[in-house]
């Protein structure tokens, strides 16, 4: 049965600059989300960006998580890279999570969750071995870490299998089918561009404890965190609208580390 919620987590990818370059408006997003997924230096992010965001997040009560990726600065982690062993993948994830823990320690904060980035996340969604390697690495570094996963994928299944706490993620700007899965991006209307529409859908999602499919059906799901974007001004505006509508309806926005505890 659908569960009426009075609290929800909003998460966004952040810290996706490098050196002098920036991607999106991280400062604005820190006032909107309750959980920040921070790039760890492989597809984006560097020690300065990571440490500074950890400090700002701490000051605003925003939880932080690692956003590990393929080592692919040029391709922004969006290119599929094939040839690494599963053991190598584990080590790549351990390195990145640890690096953020080091930066978080400097900032007096703690890493509470992990959400894989880009191509490796997409590949692992349907590749059990890859997903297992990633989940094992997260657990090995800190078994208390929450693993953000797309419901219905190998990311979710393997995380449960190794015993990680899983945060099931839904998107503010995407539609879902009758099984509760994302409608494919290529399908017309799969991506929502209107901020008010996105906000209405998120609010309904949280209030009904489930997603409304494109056919109008209510699919009861556990909504642990809602993903919003901040990589362009329109995305930031949509994220802000989502937050405002949730708050206006009396829904509290809290880090997943609190809501899942």
């Amino acid at each position: 049965m659908a569960r009426n919620m009075s609290v929800v987590d909003l998460n966004s990818d952040m810290g996706e600059g490098f050196g002098q370059w920036r991607m999106g408006d991280d400062h604005a997003m820190l006032d909107i989300v309750s959980s920040a997924n921070l790039a760890c230096g492989f597809h984006a992010g560097d020690p300065i960006i990571m440490s500074d965001l950890a400090e700002l997040a701490k000051a605003r009560g925003v939880g932080i998580g690692a956003h590990p990726s393929f080592m692919d600065l040029w391709g922004f982690g969006r290119r599929q890279i094939k040839g690494d062993s599963m053991a190598d993948i584990e080590k790549m994830f351990a390195y990145q999570i640890g690096a953020l823990q080091g930066c978080a320690a400097m900032a007096g904060h703690r890493v509470h969750h992990v959400k894989a980035h880009g191509a490796i996340a997409n590949m692992a969604a349907v590749d059990r071995e890859l997903a297992l390697a990633m989940a094992r690495a997260v657990k090995a570094v800190d078994r208390a870490l929450i693993y953000v996963a797309l419901p219905g994928t190998e990311l979710e299944r393997t995380a449960e299998e190794v015993g990680l706490k899983v945060a099931r993620e839904y998107y503010a700007d995407r539609t879902y089918d009758d099984t509760g899965n994302l409608t494919p991006r290529k399908q017309p209307g799969a991506v929502i561009h209107d901020a008010e529409e996105a906000a209405s859908r998120v609010l309904r999602m949280v209030e009904e404890g489930g997603v409304r499919s494109t056919s109008g059906k209510l699919v009861p799901v556990a909504i642990d965190t809602i993903c919003v974007h901040g990589d362009n001004p329109a995305a930031v505006a949509m994220a802000r609208t989502v937050r405002q509508r949730l708050e206006a309806a009396g829904i509290a926005i809290r880090p997943m580390a609190e809501t899942l505890a």
Copy 2:
């Protein structure tokens, strides 16, 4: 007064390869030293190398430490880079130490010490602000970390000042003057190339609890760890001779985490 020692730590820089490249014979060195300083990906080192060495070190009872550096893969961390703020330096160190902690966790090991690498270590030896930034970062990440420092430098002074446990390091292949400081590299005879001579000097150092200066004077010092090298076959042979001579004399070789505890 000089302190007769029955136990000493041998340390060496390791894991200074990258991807397919290797520098020195890490496997041989793991049978020789008791503490391994592992490159953290900035001047050398990568997640695979770091994790694999952490695992091998764990299996052999070898302690591991972070060997942080400037971000300078091409220059192997040997070039002076000017322009980073002290706050940036702190974050660079926090990132690297954390990254090794992540890899160590995967391997069931723990990071016990930190020893700065190359140009940044040389610069910090005489730059109080830089040395302070580095020491602060180490402490912020884990206040129990041992900081390996060249005695008489800002590295040692600032580490003591921020309250870190300091391991004073002496070199197997270098000579010292009457004040207990290294004779400059350019001075003839400053670097010892003969393995037996190096081993004899190290043994005497440990047995006498001090260094013999080039004038023959005994300078009583606290010798917490002795640095040996492994980046070429002659260096590995010298390191092996040092270990054999110490063991033959009944001196135990133990990680600094044990001897300094």
Copy 3:
């Protein structure tokens, strides 16, 4: 005696993004300048950015030049790096110029000039050996390349010495002293922030064939190219104003390869 000019070159640094990141509005600047200095992959720039800009520049009649730098993506080439031999510097420059020539060939364009970037340019301005290495590299790759240099510096002197054609560069947003040298940045008023003021000064500079010093004196100089910036919206607006004022006064804007031929 000052030379009245009816044609001048406007140059700007461009292509200073990397992968998914961008710096400034290159498309806008291509409609403003006559010479584009393209980052070559060491402090910024990548094969895609370089090739695409070479193609766009070709289509608009904009000349292109290499903008080589230290290998320092993270520091954007703004950090001083010490430890490379002069022979190494030559090779670094040859690599970068060649890389742009390759991209230019793809685009049907040609590299006509070279302007050093950031820290290495600043260092070479006062370091004869470094400046000589850079000039030698430019000449070795293509002796027809024009070398953009700050007048009165070692960059200019060494370029003349090795026999390169030199383009003396003046800034639209900086003031000059009675000797024709830049007033130091730290001095109040050294940097001009008002677009109209900058445009007026540039126009006068070109019409009078010399720079007006802060004391009002006319210092006759050879103004081969005027540097404008494009890394933020205000800079782009200033550059556009400069161009409009020059054109309104009947001054033609032409690539330095034409005006210096």
Copy 4:
């Protein structure tokens, strides 16, 4: 009909180090081969290594070629990377070839050929679109460049199609089937480890103007260049034996730029 040859080219990949790291014995190989394929900084190689090898090659009459790759220093260009457009691939190749041309110019040498490296070469062997992009880039940078290709692959077909001069490459340490194609690596005996056997096969290949298949059949082929390796001591020894046996039989070893002219 098979063509009796009195001259042949030996080629090897070289310059596959980076910064302080080296891979194989390039100096030894420069005395063995007549054509050197130089890594261009993407999977290995840097301006210093490239320029130095270009200079040494020039002095010994060894031809040089670009050995372009995916941008993947960590994976040594051996990992498949998916997600770049064909236009991007062209630009990546143009950049790398140009970079080597710049270094070659410094050394007074010229780039005469191109041979793709690792994963991208393997992928292009069976991917017509990818192979076409690579061939187009080579031609765009310099239509006189010789393209080294595995016979029977898309590399060869597309190079011919765009009008490049093609050097058909055979391996000293591999066996061939009745169609003249490589026997798969996984097949027992596909790789030859004995230096004398490899040398005998190469000599016969050159003398008979064709390859002997594993069934003993002579398959007449145009053997433009023979690939030998130098990345480990045994490989260097095999390459040296091949050269000695060819010379002892009166076969001259000459750069492909001469034999194909």
